[in-house]
Structures are given as structure tokens and as C-alpha cells.
Amino acid sequence: MKQPWKVRLWRWTIISFVGAYLLVPLYAMFDFSTKPFGFADKGRTFRAWQIIPSQPDLMSAIVRSLLTAGIVMALILFLIVPTAIWVHLKLPALRRPFELLCLLPLAIPAIVIVVGIAPLYRWISIHLTESPISLAGVYSMLILPYTYRSLSAALDAVDIHTLAEAARTLGANTSRVIFGIIMPTIKTGIVNGSFIAIALVLGEYTISNILNYKTFQVVIAQIGRTNGNVAVAVSLASILFVLVLLLAIPTKKRRSAVLDVDLV
């Protein structure tokens, strides 16, 4: 049935406003990154984009940040997800305390966290490694509020107790139950939580900067001090990268719609 023109007008007005709110800053960044910044430049130039690969430390910082994001992903998959499942399945009394614990990084300002963990990272950089990859530890704590909420919602949406019991009666041990049955069942929740976590890790600046680690965001900030156009170009590229990553979530949901079964 065709909707009244007023409804359609109202809908498109809202969509236009939201679209402009999101896209205008991106366009402004693109506009700025293509402005001339050298004496030889005339009119529009893509030189800021072209010299991105030659920026000192940038490529290695990107690799390090992606590696860190990968480690955080692994921690989510092999530590946080099984723990959340275990708490839901076996320790329901601990659900509230666990949830509260997971929300703490959201309530504590990043600067407070970094002051608290600075001595620990000083020790790590002296005795273990100076690699920024060690930041995966603190990042996996920072992403908890987002990841846990996403996992918890997915776990609440299905009757994991019955699924687990059914698997056990068929001969599955605990690890098979968790990794073979429950995790594929809540795949959408895990994917959502993981992508949000990756976006957060790639965008984090405060902690890595204060701890003197050269991560992606820190290097962008450094470039910005010497060449604003390049810094904005890199920032825009990173935003687009994360945007593509986040846009992949609904696609993933559609593909795995088969998992979203009401088990009541």
C-alpha cells in the first residue's frame, strides 16, 4: 500500500538530515585533504593521498594496530566469549557481578585507567616487550562493555541451556558444547561485538599516546602536526575503513539470518 506523501516527506527529511550530519564532515575532510598545500600545487590535488605510503612510521603503525586488533579479536573469541557462555550456563548467580565488572571500563575515564596501568606497562616495556601489541591487554578490557552487551543479548535470545544439554546427551564435552554449539548459535552477537571492538581498538588514542606507544592514531596525530592535509587524508581513509567494517555487520546478519531462531 502506498504511504501518504506526508509520511514519505517526513521520512526523507529525517534521512536527509541524518545523512547530512554524517556525510558533511566526511566531505569537509575530503575537501580539505585535496586542497593545495605546497607552492607547486594549483587547484585540487591528491598529493596528500599519494604521499600517505611514504609517511614515516605510518605503515608499521597500521600493521601494529591491525595486529593488536587481531589479538583483541582472539581474546574475545577464546576468552571473553567462552567466559560469558560459562557464566550464562553454569554460574547464573555471577551474571550481575560479571555484567557490572564488564561495564566498569565505560564508567572509568580513559585517563584514570591509563594512570592506573602506567606502572604495569612500564614494567612490561622494561621486562617483556616494548611492542605496542602489548596494548591488546588493556584494549581487551576497554572493549568489554560493548562486547559483553552484544554477547549477553545474543545469549539471552536463545535457550542455550537446552541446546547445551541436548549436545551433552549426544556425547559432546564442554569444549564442544561451547565452541561447536553455542558459539555458532550466537555468531551474529560475536561478529557484532568483535567489529565494534576492532573499531574501538583502531580509533583509540588516549591510552596509547600517554603510554608512548606508536599506534595508528598516535602516528596520525604526529603527521597532523607537520602536514594537516596528509593527516586528514589518513584519518578519512581510516574512518572509511572502519565504516566499511561496520557496514559489513548488517550484511553478515542477513547471511546468518538462519541463526536468529526463536527457540522459545
Binding site: 535457550d159 544439554e165 541436548a166 549436545a167 546427551t169 549426544l170 556425547g171
Partner: protein
Amino acid sequence: MSSSTYVQLVDLAKHFGKVRALDGLSLDIAQGELVALLGPSGCGKTTALRALAGLQELDRGQLIVDGKDVTFQNANKRGMGMVFQAYSLFPHMTARENVEYGLKLKAHKAAGDKRKARSAELLELVGLSTHANHYPHQLSGGQQQRVALARALAISPKVLLLDEPLSALDAKVRTQLREEIRRIQMELGTTTLFVTHDQEEALSIADRVGVMRNGQLEQIATPSELYDRPKTSFVAEFVGLTNPIPGKVSGSSIEILGSVVKTLPGSVASGTGIALVRPESVDVVASKSGNATVAAASFLGASCRLNITMNDGTKITAQLPSSDASGIGAGATVSVSLLDMPVFVKAAG
């Protein structure tokens, strides 16, 4: 333990806080037998089933299956096939993959071809061979429970455990599926324990029905014996309908509604008692000089149910074949008597 006993539940006890879910439950099941546990909510029937599956720890008791003590064996080692009340198919697997899952995990790991053949055979058995590649969300509730049954049977379970598998289904599908469960169970000869709160379900498919109350077995018997010869007032009142009619007891008989009727063992032996009379034991004949009036008549198809008020004010329900009830409607004067069937008599007050 008789020679044919295959499963033994011995003196099972389980407390949840102050609630006694199981209180010394003992039960023997013969090989190939289908036993139904029937009882009101909270009577402990599901706890007993879960204990046998290994999903519920016990405070006390022993579980013996095929001569082996499995009391402390893990659920994944017991080889019990279970169908749950809630839909329990793995949502990321097709019907075929669900059925094959247990076979993949078996110690001797059935080869791929054998697994496929077995899952195809079982899906055929439950009438879903054309749905093998469907995901659970593409199946109806009844189809999902059929696949769950096929999955439970795929591992050739020592005991098939059915935990109210039909309660989430609509009445028609429920009737169909319970008949199919019985057919498949008899075809495969699988020893089965079936838990339900629906007495019609239990009485229609079980070899024996155990009625549970407060964690104990009140009576276990064949459906007809349970219905016709209840051993306790709880069983008499829980299974089927009864008319509580007071009367004078002397020895093994009671005088009610002007008739003397034999009492069942376990009944009150003297003084005043309340006879629990089945509606089918009440004979009703249209008579202008009758001793009762029909308050309401309900047509049930093959039979007719009459709510009758006796001249002394006693209200009783009678159920008679529709052919015998023709012409008896609300307001009719009728003559009520009792058929010569023994009744259970409980103490008055």
C-alpha cells in the same frame, strides 16, 4: 531386580533448597518398555528423567542401566537419547546435520557414508526425508520435534528420554506425533521413559504409567489398571474424572446412591467414606419418576456428559455413550444408579 529389568532407579532423592523434588523414588523399566511418568507440576517427574540422563545430580540413590551403575557417569558418556520440551535443534545445522551430530561424536566415529545413510534412514522414519536440508527455522514445531526424535534415536540410545516433547505443540499435531512416537518406539524396541503432565498422552501410549506425587511414585501400573483400580485417592482423583459421593462403608463394600458397590484395596474399611466414582460407572435412564434432574448435557462426539443434581442435592457427573443419551437433555428427570464396578473410597473429611 527381575530378569527383564533394563533400567533401575533406586531410592532417588534430590532436594532443591527446602523443596523435595525426589524423595526415595524407585522404578524398574523392562527392556523395550515405554513407561510414562505422570504427575502434577513439581512432583519430581522431570527431575527423575534428568537424573537418568545425567543432567541432574542426585543427593542419594543409584541408577542402573543394562546392569551397569551409571549414577556418577557424565551425561555425554551415558548414551541416552533425549527429546526436550523446548525446541532444541541446533539452529546453525540443517535437519540432517542435527541428526548426524551425535554420530560424529561417537567413540567409534561412524564413517561419513554410514552417517549419511543412518540420518537418511531416521529422517525417513519420522517422515521428514524431504526436509533433510532445511534449517530449524524453516520447520514447524512438530517437524522440529520429529527431527529431535530422529537425532535422539540416531545414536541408538540405551534409553530414550522424552521430557514433555509434545507440550509446545497444538492438539492435532500432538495426537499425531504421540502415535508416531509409539509406532517408532515399538518398531525399534527402544526402552523409553516419557514424562508428561497430560494424562491422556500418558494413558494412550505407555505400556505402564507411573503417577508421581511429592517426589514419590504413588502407583505404577498399566493404563487400564491405573484407571480402573487406583491404589490411592490421589491416583483416583488425578487420573480421569471422579464423583466424590459419601456413603457408609462396611468391610469391602460401600452403600451409595442406593446401591452397594465393592471397594478397591486400600480403601477405607469402616465408617463413613467418600467413594470416588467414575462418570462411566454412573448409569442414567430417562424416567419421570426418577431420583435426579439433568442440569446440563454436553455432547462430546462418541459420548455425552451429563451434569446431574440428585433429589438430595448431591451433584454428580455421568458419561454415557451418545446413543444411550439421546433424548436426555437439560431439565430432564432421570433415574440414576451405579454400575457394578469397584470404587476407591477415601476417608471422609
